[in-house]
Symmetry: C2
Subunit: 180 residues, 2 copies
């Protein structure tokens, strides 16, 4: 069973993230979705409620847009309050041990811009070390993130292009989740 932690400040208006979630819902996978901005518009995340969802699932999928080379703030708040001492780490903090950790995100621009001499300078995976180490520290099984480029209209891509990219992204996720 997969728990989806969805972090998008304007989910209803989004193209890529909304399409990905819709495709996942249409699949035969057993899913539960936590839409953080809808549940916690004031960022007052309930750690106990979130922890109860976590313990019931084998896989945690984080779905979000890539903002400033990092996750959106509400997802960081989720980690800051939910991954508590003696839950996610510490002498008795093994509640997440062995669960799968899969980040799935959308990048607005194109892949070529994420190289040394182009405007974003770093490869996207270089910005993912905090995810990987967070997963290890909670004794989780880190799965290489799934991400897609060219998902923002502000970067010049059309609604149809983004939708098609998002569908391919969802298919990759569905295959990955099926294999776990």
């Amino acid at each position: 069973m997969t728990l989806i932690i969805l972090a998008h400040p304007a989910f209803e208006k989004s193209i890529a993230n909304k399409t990905i979630i819709e495709e996942l819902q249409r699949s035969k996978l057993d899913l539960e979705i936590r839409n953080l901005h809808e549940l916690y518009p004031d960022f007052k995340i309930d750690p106990k409620a979130e922890q109860e969802f976590l313990v019931r699932h084998d896989t945690v999928l984080f779905q979000y847009p890539f903002y400033w080379y990092n996750m959106p703030a509400i997802l960081k708040q989720w980690f800051d309050v939910v991954f508590e001492h003696q839950f996610a780490f510490g002498s008795k903090g093994d509640k997440l041990k062995g669960k799968n950790f899969l980040a799935s995100f959308t990048v607005g621009g194109k892949e070529k811009d994420y190289t040394l001499l182009e405007k974003h300078h770093f490869r996207v995976h270089e910005f993912c070390k905090n995810l990987e180490q967070t997963s290890y520290f909670a004794q989780m099984n880190f799965i290489d993130p799934v991400y897609s480029f060219r998902t923002s209209q502000a970067d010049g891509y059309t609604h149809e292009e983004i939708k098609s990219t998002a569908k391919a992204h969802a298919e990759k996720l569905i295959n990955q989740l099926g294999e776990i």
Copy 2:
């Protein structure tokens, strides 16, 4: 003139961050401090107000504890809403051009744990690429972050040890700010 963006969810109880701020205030530096959790307990950061503070200063110092190999959520929210298109980037987004970007943070554990075979696996600077690239994308002058280890009582350090580490940290910052 230096603008300090302070992001600590329990600043009054903190030892290291509080000591650093107190030492900075005691110095002769010309400072203004924005305590984000105090100003915005519900995370509803006012982008225009924050942008007005930014344009009036030459140096922006971000002061925070290192949480999950990253900045605290409220600071990420600050970047997400304040570093807007046509302010921080875009064809007319040059309002931060040439300003100094200095991250200053406290790490709970010891330096040795932040090496390949130890529990945090990565060096701290490997987790700072998002800061560096955020600064470049806003045409700011990135200064190597200042950070100190052994700043958490949960990691076994005493109040006095942490205070002394924080004072040394503040001295380093004051020297750095004086040189800019």
